[in-house]
């Protein structure tokens, strides 16, 4: 070993052995606590609030229970969604029968029903007649036109008592007593 490194090691050895001693930590503790009490009072308050609200996350068993509860909720949610989806699919396959009503049904009502029929996009069984959207529109137009003409005809009959009597007489003769003007 060189004399320089021997000297160096001797000095190091004594420096390592001589740990600086802190006589009393109390003074430092007091000063630190005094300083942190002055710093942002809001921070301490905020810390308190956060701890109050979310302090439970530091408790192991509460955290684990919450994880389990959230997993159960997620599973229930998934199950519910699958049931709802299944039900919607089932309803999608059902047929909504729009029964024809007498001609007194207003045109708006028919349009509404047809719209529902279109929107529902249902599938008809193979033995039923399937008509296109265009044909449906044509049917709707015809019904509306027919309703208009029928109303005009009724008005015409009501306005003319002679014509009304004649038609009623003819209806009796032809045994169509069920039709009322």
């Amino acid at each position: 070993m060189k004399p320089e490194s021997e000297k160096y090691n001797k000095v190091l050895e004594i420096l390592r052995k001589s740990k600086p001693l802190l006589n009393s930590t109390e003074d430092i503790e007091n000063k630190v606590v005094a300083r942190i009490s002055r710093i942002p009072g809001s921070e301490i308050t905020l810390t308190g609030i956060i701890d109050f609200m979310f302090g439970w996350v530091y408790i192991g068993w509460v955290r684990r229970s919450m994880i389990a509860a959230s997993m159960v909720l997620v599973m229930v949610f998934i199950y519910q969604q699958s049931v709802v989806l299944k039900r919607i699919n089932y309803l999608n396959r059902q047929i909504v029968i729009i029964e024809g009503e007498t001609t007194t049904t207003p045109a708006d009502e028919i349009e509404r029903r047809i719209m529902i029929y279109k929107l529902s996009g249902r599938i008809l069984p193979s033995n039923r007649l399937i008509i296109s959207e265009k044909q449906l529109d044509q049917l709707l137009e015809s019904v509306t036109e027919l309703q208009g003409k029928y109303k005009d005809l009724l008005n015409l009959i009501q306005e003319d008592p002679e014509l009304k009597n004649y038609i009623e007489k003819k209806l009796k003769e032809t045994d169509h007593t069920g039709i009322k003007l």
């Binding site: 160096y8 000095v11 190091l12 004594i14 600086p20 630190v32 942190i36």
Partner: protein, 177 residues
């Protein structure tokens, strides 16, 4: 050894627990600060500032091991700042008495422990010509006996830089002795 439970309790904002943490942390923070700065009052100020910084950022601590490294990092960084400021106003004068003390240690060998004042005088004299980084590496490696990985983690320096600084510090101090 610092208990992680104590740190967790301090994270909850409890002053009493933090007081306990200050009590446990201060000695080793003081040891580094004193060896780096060589003055008791300045070292105490650094410990105080370190503890205030810890209080402000304690929520970031995840493990007890990480806590100790973190403390060292804060202390060393604060000492750097202090030494940089001090370098602009150098106050140190060569002291014959300290040289006599060093000569005595070398001739008679290490015996009794030195007092704080003597330790500070020797370190200040030996590291007077070193930069703050070299001084930090010398103290952490040679006096605190930390590994290269630990010093790298504390100072943020690459291992090769640490080696280079340590080599320079050793050479410089050996020449002085």
């Amino acid at each position: 050894m610092i208990d992680i439970k104590l740190i967790e309790e301090c994270q909850g904002g409890n002053f009493d627990n933090f007081r306990k943490l200050v009590e446990l942390t201060s000695p080793f923070a003081y040891s580094i600060a004193f060896r780096m700065l060589g003055e008791e009052d300045q070292a105490k100020d650094i410990v105080q500032e370190t503890m205030v910084t810890i209080w402000q950022k304690i929520r970031k601590i995840k493990s007890a091991g990480g806590y100790k490294t973190w403390i060292y990092r804060i202390v060393v960084n604060k000492c750097y700042d202090h030494l940089r400021k001090k370098k602009r106003h150098p106050e140190y004068a060569v002291d014959e008495q300290t040289w006599a003390l060093i000569s005595n240690i070398i001739s008679e060998g290490p015996s009794a422990e030195l007092e704080n004042r003597e330790t500070s005088q020797i370190i200040s004299l030996l590291t007077n010509r070193l930069s703050p980084k070299q001084k930090a590496v010398f103290i952490l490696s040679e006096i605190e006996e930390m590994s290269g990985d630990e010093i790298s983690e504390i100072t943020g320096m690459h291992k090769s830089v640490i080696k280079a600084n340590l080599h320079y510090a050793r050479k410089n101090i050996s020449e002085m002795i």
